[in-house]
């Protein structure tokens, strides 16, 4: 599972409602295209105009925390916009499992705020734990992502993996 993209670093706790503000409540609408037009609207209004497909959002401790009602929009909006994944010093555990379950890569990387700067291009191998900062020319070894997580992400999410495990769809 390789993530490659430019870094958007926020030296703070990025909460679920920072990723998509609470005033846009998509839980009933599930219109992720519309949702994706509000990603980081308050925290970084310029983000949507300049981000490129596959770019990675990096934050501090407790990434994604907040009321779980706003979790789904906080990873579906960015995912539909093309965000490649989240790296953080630590995650809200419910947010993290929910996002991974939906196929959105999340990786706890202690020290990530030191290792990368906004705009850096990085290549992350979640299965081996190696992160190469292509802009700085450095490589670091972090704790690899659990096999259970890689399995979910490679299947495209927990539903797809479950369908495959149950043998419900021969194409998966």
């Amino acid at each position: 599972m390789i993530l490659e993209g430019h870094i958007w670093k926020y030296n703070q706790q990025v909460r679920a409602t920072d990723l998509v503000p609470a005033r846009y409540d998509y839980i009933k609408l599930a219109d992720w295209t519309e949702c994706s037009t509000h990603v980081l609207e308050d925290l970084d209004p310029g983000f949507r105009e300049t981000m490129r497909h596959g770019d990675l959002i990096v934050g501090g401790h407790g990434f994604g925390a907040g009321h779980a009602h706003y979790f789904q929009q906080a990873f579906e909006g960015p995912r539909w916009l093309g965000v490649g994944g989240y790296l953080a010093e630590s995650f809200d555990p419910i947010f993290m499992v929910s996002a991974i379950g939906a196929g959105m890569p999340c990786w706890t990387v202690p020290g990530i705020l030191e290792f990368v700067a906004s705009g850096d291009k990085v290549k992350c191998d979640m299965a081996t734990g190696e992160i190469a900062n292509l802009s700085a020319g450095t490589t670091f070894q972090f704790r690899a992502v659990a096999r259970e997580v890689v399995e979910v992400l490679e299947a495209g999410g927990l539903d797809a993996l479950t369908v495959r495990k149950l043998g419900l769809d021969a194409t998966l």
């Binding site: 925390a65 809200d92 419910i94 997580v149 149950l166 419900l168």
Partner: protein, 423 residues
Amino acid sequence: MQMTISQKILSAASGRDVLPGDVINVPVSGLSVHDSAPLGIFNTYPEARVWDPSKIVICYDHFSRTNMAPYHARFRAFIRDQGIPPENVFAYGRQGISHQVPGEEGYVLPGTVYAVFDTQGATLGALNCFAFTSLLTTPSVLALGTALVVVPEAVDIELVGRLSDGLTSKDLTFHMHAMYGNELLGRVLEFRGAGIAGLSVDQRLGIANASNNLGALTMIFPGDDVLAAYLDKRARAPYAFVAADPGATYASRLTIDLADVQPLVSGPDAIEKICALDDVIGLPVTAAYIGSCSAGRLDDLILAAAVLDGRSIDPSVRFVVTPISSEVMREASDRGLIAKFIAAGAMVTPPGCGACYVGNQSPLLLEDDERCIASSVSNDPGRMGSKTAKIYLSNPAVVAASAIEGRIADPRPYLSRIAEQVQ
């Protein structure tokens, strides 16, 4: 290996010793889902079967406002098709909140891993188990009986002393939020200490309910005589309490003196905006709500009824009371509490999540710029109606006193007069 309570429970369930940071696919002992749970792959693949119909509990609590009838028909069809036993289905007349009823009905036992679809699933950690929300992964848990869990670091919290009269889990958890905030993020909070004996199971459930708001994965209370008495006649199988080993590793250790807790209020617009009750006293309110999975239990209703007893609410206030479950509604009725609410001018609704969330069938949809005092879970903008309404959260005694006065009020004068009468 010396283990915390959560490590012991997760290790026993997953069959291997787990460490914080491990990601595990842990078998769950049961799963509770409510009436607006997404069925995901079960809609796409009607031939998909749940892993064990007898382990699934269905609780009607949200009573979603939009398109309710067709949705509920589909949901009933799912229950029938999957062979979920009718006794596990808590619908009309037996309904109640999905992370309360499985405890009341003895499905949730100490030492087990219990999953709940609802965001507030950690509430059941009051029963000495590892309870958590499976949230959007719920269809997969329904199908496989296992849940993806990140083993959290644990925080050891020693509770000493007693809460002052009129204070509840609400004040304690706001106190924890204000004092410790980020220290609790992502962690499991394991309680111990002499202060626990003075907390009813209702209060413990109310405390564990705040896990999500505190950013904690869950909380776990130890077993004791109070919990054993609660489980007596409820537990559907034998159980054993789980305690931490003396040498278990905790990420941090805190001591909270319950006597230090003061009346606190959260809001508006953000749960972390916490202030002393004194700082907001006098702000006019036109809506008041007692209920939700945070504070709709018998303890909460007894306290609110004590404040309201023989008094009338301000006629400009829309005051709604929603018991958390049918059991609590029956008990509140038997004890004359419902009569007191009605006599005071409150609207008492059928049990469930009530006015806590705008998507429910709630009689209390807040108007633009309206100010509301509530004992419920969340005060995010738009949570209970208009996005410009201002929601303040407090314990149920404060809500009741505020409903009487038409402004945020201190319930202690009402409660002290009752104490004098008793003496």
